[in-house]
Symmetry: C2
Subunit: 197 residues, 2 copies
């Protein structure tokens, strides 16, 4: 006489999502039980559509509905400058600046020996192949953490012998923050990267 089977199954499936534990899954499941049928149908449709219609660009691995993606096929973007990011969602972060006019390369992760992610698990070979075809600059925009930094160093060592300019995004204190809250590593990077004004 516990919860009905379909509800237990939904609670279990919801727990596979990141950041959703047993309590959260139960709350969501009971919410779904209460919502009008049409709303659940809309969610189900959206889930299916994403799996059916969204794919990865065969050139840069960014998510897209058409292959190659809008960035790779655009005449307005400079294919000689490649910005390397870890995940598709990182493309949006760079785009927000409205300043970058080059193209992207999504690695689909970062090197992480602890999590068993090695060079072969990332889209590195296709990046090297692209650079081989003549690229002016590769901007390494992997995350400013241990894995992202290790990945950037690894890539730089592979890319430089190809004769391409390799740069890394600046690390330092974030704009609008307070020095009081800057950790020592960030502060160190900020001092190290200081510029004359």
């Amino acid at each position: 006489m516990s919860l009905p089977d379909p509800l237990l199954r939904l609670i279990e499936e919801l727990q596979h999502l990141p950041g959703i534990g047993p309590k959260g899954a139960q709350r969501l499941a009971f919410h779904i039980l209460k919502t009008p049928r049409e709303q659940t149908d809309a969610l189900v449709g959206a889930l299916r559509d994403v799996k059916e219609r969204v794919t990865y660009c065969s050139i840069c691995n960014n998510i897209t509905e058409v292959d190659p993606c809008a960035y790779c096929s655009s005449d307005a973007r400079d294919p000689k400058v490649i910005c390397v990011v870890e995940e598709p969602q990182n493309v949006a972060s760079v785009e927000k600046t409205r300043e970058f006019k080059g193209v992207y390369h999504v690695l689909m992760g970062a090197l992480s020996p602890l999590q068993g992610v090695g060079p072969d698990d990332l889209k590195i070979e296709s990046l090297l192949a692209r650079v081989d075809q003549g690229v002016a600059e590769v901007i390494l925009a992997t995350n400013p953490n241990v894995e992202g930094e290790a990945t950037a160093i690894y890539l730089a060592r592979l890319l430089k012998p190809l004769g391409v300019k390799v740069t890394r995004i600046a690390m330092g204190v974030p704009v609008g923050s307070d020095l009081e809250y800057a950790d020592e590593v960030t502060m160190h990077k900020a001092l190290e990267g200081r510029r004359e004004v």
Copy 2:
């Protein structure tokens, strides 16, 4: 050149779920994009099944796959004792004690003038009809907050004239907690409800 339409739609649909904001919805959507097709299919199937197979008991409004529910149709439960709770998930909380052997009545909410929930929005009439058919005790197990307390008082006023014993679950300091962290209202209830040892 923003995110693909199906992904934007999924992010929007996910935001309809409680406790999931724009950032959380985006993180979930990108996760779903990455997971194997079978896992999303399992989630979709579970969502559909819950809407198709889980219904409400026509007697007590608890969730169930068969009507009447297992509690209402069980010979091992005493139909003369009804435990009134706000939501179907509250049934599980009472069942956890393994002590209650009566049946349930789910109100499907609590009185809340601020949220526009009045007596007509709750399953009160069917409760009165059940009590009318001869019930020994009604245990009011609505939540120990303002809405639950108001609902309990309202129900007690309706039920007592029917000649049924009406009780309210005890409120006090939770077992295993520390008095230091008890708020004044809980402490007040704990003192008020003190018993001789």
